[in-house]
Subunit: 420 residues, 2 copies
Amino acid sequence: MSTDIMAEVIEKAKRARRAAPRLAVLSRAEKDLILRAFADALEEQKDLVIEANARDVAAAQARGISPALVDRVILTDTRIAEMAEGLRMIADLPDPVGEVIHGWRLPNGLEITKVRVPLGVVGVIYESRPNVTVDATGLCLKAGNATLLRGGSDAVNSNLALVRVLQQAGAEVGLPEGAVEIIETTDREAAAQLMRLNEYVDVLIPRGGAGLIQRVKNESTVPVIETGVGNCHVYVDASADLDRAEEIVVNAKCQRPGVCNAAETLLVHRDVAADFLPRVGKRLAELGVELRACPRSRPYLEGAKAATQEDWATEFLDLILAVKTVDDVAEAIEHIGAHGTMHSEAIVTGDLSAARRFTREIDAAVVYVNASTRFTDGGQFGFGAEIGISTQKLHARGPMGLPELTSYKYVAIGDGQVRS
Amino acid sequence: MSTDIMAEVIEKAKRARRAAPRLAVLSRAEKDLILRAFADALEEQKDLVIEANARDVAAAQARGISPALVDRVILTDTRIAEMAEGLRMIADLPDPVGEVIHGWRLPNGLEITKVRVPLGVVGVIYESRPNVTVDATGLCLKAGNATLLRGGSDAVNSNLALVRVLQQAGAEVGLPEGAVEIIETTDREAAAQLMRLNEYVDVLIPRGGAGLIQRVKNESTVPVIETGVGNCHVYVDASADLDRAEEIVVNAKCQRPGVCNAAETLLVHRDVAADFLPRVGKRLAELGVELRACPRSRPYLEGAKAATQEDWATEFLDLILAVKTVDDVAEAIEHIGAHGTMHSEAIVTGDLSAARRFTREIDAAVVYVNASTRFTDGGQFGFGAEIGISTQKLHARGPMGLPELTSYKYVAIGDGQVRS
């Protein structure tokens, strides 16, 4: 590894580490003031940001990357206004730090409280979307954490410009030095280095595609919160209200197909396959959805292709839906257990026992009964903001808001208690 | 890596993985029945266990390991009775699984509950104490998890005998196959392999010395809960009640010096150093404590050695105490920040503002005011049982009981809600 890259990563991480204790004791008023200063500065200096962004967009186009990917990089007046609005929304949220989660008194009189505290230094490794730079920084700051960013090369100029705006605006209203740091080297080595800095970084959150997340998970010795990959299912039970089922399947697949909480596979109970599949198939076809079906489903679905084994395991993120007919709720649960990613899973049913079994046995962040998988989202859940959707079981699961960016400590107050 | 070792580790991990969903849906009554059967079987078959243990002890003695280490391996009637009692105590604790942590209703009528669920497969990597085999299995089972054990070579025969007793007793009362597995190879390769099995293992808990914990933390791609290392401090403030301070320091150092929540460094405010150090020094010397003091403290401590830089960072786990005089609470906080391990830290003070500052600024699992650090313990905290003391900030911090061996899922119940 090049010495220069190592030196930069370590220096930034150290700066963030030094800022962490100062951030931990900021009051809500101080943090909200900084967040609003961030928002104002972004709007005031949007031309500077858009200029930097234009260089990224030109470079991306010159490299011939797809228009969809270029779109992820582009910043407009509207997008900058949205980022600023996001920061003001975070300022409006209650401060998670200092919350007494619970407390009790020991028989010897020692009074213990469990108090919410920041995590410390949060590393964020992300790909092309420059809005992550601002969103992640805002959320981490409100939760009292230092933010150590490492964005992708596609948006490097935009990210650096954004961070400079935040750093300058923050410095004027009391943001501790080192509270927001960005690693400028977009080399893979820089990310690899960051993933081994247990001494300075408390947690890493990867934001991006499955490849990035897998790499961070495999290489990082810093604790990781895994986010995002969703191979979600909707299971239509024998007792389902089929009108309701149709709306739920269409919504889960089509309302926004490119996101992690969209459905990728439809499972249908064999008793309703003949009734349900033709009608839902027609509706989906009209909406441009390509169907890939199992041998038992295919006769009911005009124009459907044969599903391959790989289709069951694929997060299409597109207008494609795999379809399988199952014998019963047990087979649905088994299929989801074998192919799901523990993100969001739904059953449509009128049967209480099927609903109870599905919610108990399905191992996923969010399990739905008679609702679309698309609700797995911090905003929809009422969290006010979201840093990502965790698909792991340690620390946080499902939509992560401000409390999920914190830890806790116990404070024990006595009058001379000793252990006998 | 040898194919045989790989094959064994993977096979055991797969068996545990398959058992996890069956364990997750066991009722409290079913789990408690198994725990009590474990306890009865241990007592009934104690001769078989003690026989296996005798082979471990003989082998350890033949290798010439220290009597203190041999003592860790030895199992007696009393120690087996204690393990059985521990299992019955776990049976008496409430079931953490199924607890509704909280719940709310969205504006669209969707009802969301956050429900406690098992983690899945918990891997435990430990050293010489065979009681970990039984304690960890009991706690994991009660929390609905499969247990995948990997003990040290010193106690291999004891561990295998214990696991066989548990497996057989469990099988008769409904314990799913694979719920308790032990990797028989004590080779380092087996542990290394286990640390990469993200597909089958949800979390790894190392139990043992600093070296083991460091190795697991560095090598594991499976999420780790770091336990145990405690370089704990007691800070005696200018306003401290010195009688109280003396009792707390003596208790924190001497009540059980070999454990992680014992104090390793005494910090004293300069204004009380001349009063406090001679008296506490005399008392500690009588109790056989070796003192290693800074230049400002040494004149007040008869017979104290000069402390080295290394002493500030050392977890002595012995009757040794480092002593430093500081200018104020700020210097105490700074010293603890530089040398502490985020375990347990205490201030003795009568001053509210010093107490508030210390509890806010010290970054540790448990921060004490006017009490001994020795209370950092699941039993003392009233948790009923403890799998270890976490010194990390992600997932769990401080004493970990049954709830810390769980995750949660969201269950969302609706009547056809779709996202607009």
